[in-house]
């Protein structure tokens, strides 16, 4: 195996120095020429974070993201809770694409316990994960539109996202936070008319994507605002550890679904959309293309889904007769009490998934009791925060919302 390297050591140190260099304008005192703008949490263009920007005239000289306003200490709270109870907790930060994050956590728990979900459950998880991925991309596109001032893009994005949420409601019973994936399988089976409804929904989204192209992607003002803004070169993206569509818009075709396939992804054919320019327009475009790929994945998964159990036999072995009856009649899983207080063996497990915004990492250290000893959870937005510091300087004040919207940073997901 040839280990291909694309850099040598002194290039690396030069690049590190270049990355840490702040653009010098000669004047550093605040009040003389620099204005410190606090685009704070109570601002229409900032989300749940504060962006501190030092501005010389109209050019941003230095930018510092101040995050942590919605830090909910998920990692610390999970040390006091049983493994099952952490599933809704883990869902809450990344509120838009909840299912891939839940799948990651449950995969880590399953690896600890040594059980595996049956194939039908894996396909159901994949379908729901792709539905939420489309919803999450629409949210990202809507936020990009509203930060540019394009209220039509915002309303359309949320309206189209509603179609996906209705589909998820049909499958799981809840709109956004499902707690659908449990160790060993899923909690409900899909209803009879689900494949037809999914097909209707997907055809509607495909029609809407054509409208989007006319209104948003070919809009001359949008192109002026987004082209050549916030250019992220591939070398810089690799060094900074960027993940998700931001990375794929810079030319690196890294996707965890292809690199380390989980659930049903290695039986489904899909492509990874990659753009070369790395500017804000490319990042928006990659999200649109990924929606198309997700539509194709859902179609294939609905066609290929096998029959069978939706919960692993190691768990259904623990059912009492009432639970077995409910499972046989309505295909819903009720938790046996042993699952609620499960004690995995001592050890560690790690899982990675591709959420809507990038790669999420889960690492659980268990000491044999009902609560995890340490639960480490890194979300893609937390890895993308560094772009605020290195991408914005050199651009104008009006580019701050444009770049923010294009990297699709979601503060609750980053703060956990």
């Amino acid at each position: 195996m040839e280990v291909d390297r694309d850099s040598s050591n002194d290039f690396l140190s030069n690049l590190s120095q270049e990355l840490f260099m702040i653009r010098e304008t000669g004047v550093r005192e605040e009040g003389e020429r620099l204005i410190e703008l606090q685009i704070g949490p109570a601002h229409p263009g900032s989300g749940h974070m504060r962006i501190l920007a030092w501005v010389d005239g109209d050019i941003v000289v230095r930018c510092d993201p101040d995050i942590g306003f919605v830090h909910r200490t998920i990692e610390k709270l999970s040390e006091n809770r049983a493994y099952i109870k952490t599933i809704p907790l883990v869902e809450r930060p990344s509120l838009l694409d909840t299912t891939p994050i839940t799948i990651g956590y449950v995969n880590a728990v399953e690896k600890l316990m040594g059980i595996e979900a049956p194939p039908r459950a894996k396909y159901l998880r994949t379908i729901l994960a792709e539905i939420t991925r489309i919803a999450s991309h629409f949210y990202g596109i809507g936020i990009l539109a509203v930060f540019l001032g394009h209220s039509t893009g915002f309303m359309w994005a949320f309206g189209d996202r509603e179609v996906m949420i209705e589909l998820a409601t049909m499958l799981t019973g809840a709109r956004i936070t499902y707690a659908y994936v449990i160790p060993g399988g899923v909690r409900r089976d899909m209803p009879q008319n689900f494949p037809d409804q999914v097909e209707k929904g997907l055809r509607y989204i495909e029609r809407r994507l054509k409208d989007w192209e006319k209104l948003f992607l070919n809009n001359p003002v949008v192109e002026r605002r987004l082209r050549d803004i916030g250019v992220l070169k591939p070398v810089m993206a690799r060094r900074l550890g960027i993940t998700g569509p931001n990375l794929r818009a810079s030319g690196v075709d890294y996707d965890v679904r292809m690199a380390e396939p989980y659930e049903a992804y290695d039986e489904i054919d899909f492509m990874i959309p990659v753009a070369e320019e790395g500017d804000a327009y490319a990042r928006g475009l990659v999200r649109f293309k990924e929606i198309e790929q997700s539509i194709s994945i859902i179609r294939q998964a609905i066609k290929k889904i096998p029959d069978g159990d939706i919960i692993s036999p190691q768990i259904s072995r623990l059912f009492n007769p009432l639970m077995k009856k409910i499972y046989a009649e309505t295909r819903r899983v009720k938790f046996p009490s042993l699952l609620a207080t499960l004690k995995p063996p001592k050890g560690e497990a790690m899982a990675r998934v591709e959420a809507g915004r990038g790669e999420a990492l889960f690492h659980i250290i268990s000491d044999g009791s009902t609560n995890p000893y340490r639960f480490r959870f890194v979300t893609p937005s937390f890895r993308n925060v560094i772009l605020f510091k290195y991408l914005i300087p050199g651009h104008r004040v009006a580019d701050i919302p444009a770049i923010y919207g294009s990297i699709d940073y979601f503060p609750p997901e980053a703060d956990r």
């Binding site: 942590g68 380390e260 790690m350 703060d415």
Partner: protein, 180 residues
Amino acid sequence: MSSQTSPQSTQMKKEDPDLKRFLEILNERTKDLNPKISIDKYGRAIYIEISNEKLHELAERLSKLGIDHVKSVTGVDYPSENKIELLIHAGSYLRTLRKYTIIIKSFLDRSSPKTRSLTDVWPSAEFQEREAWEMFGIYFEGHPDLRRLLLPEDFEGTWPMRKDFMIKTRRPGEVEGPWK
């Protein structure tokens, strides 16, 4: 990218020739640092345990090998053994090495955990190390900008993620004081 068998993500791995070759090269390049290398039973995570003084050297050798970014830098608190374990997840964007995650563990002394910052080898560790510092108290020497990331500026108390930081429940009538 389809395979004949069912999805393999949680099954035991069969022999993987790429992994063997990578482990050979890794062993050969880092022999003198005396690491303890092991793989998990699913064949995707490579655990390396190493002592703290040699951590930076190991990081440099790994980055020459192609491991070009860090996914997570954090700690695990073991108060009973008086140690804090520094847990680093690193990976690579290169096509041949994408499927592996390198997990580096290194033990630090709990009373004053100090280690050398990895930001000159892996710039992606910058914000991760800030979080590790504010949560565990691990001081990274050479970090360009070590300050609070997630906690508010007026937070008082000990390092939150250590085991001796108790989450208190407030009872009715109690006034909230600064955390212990």
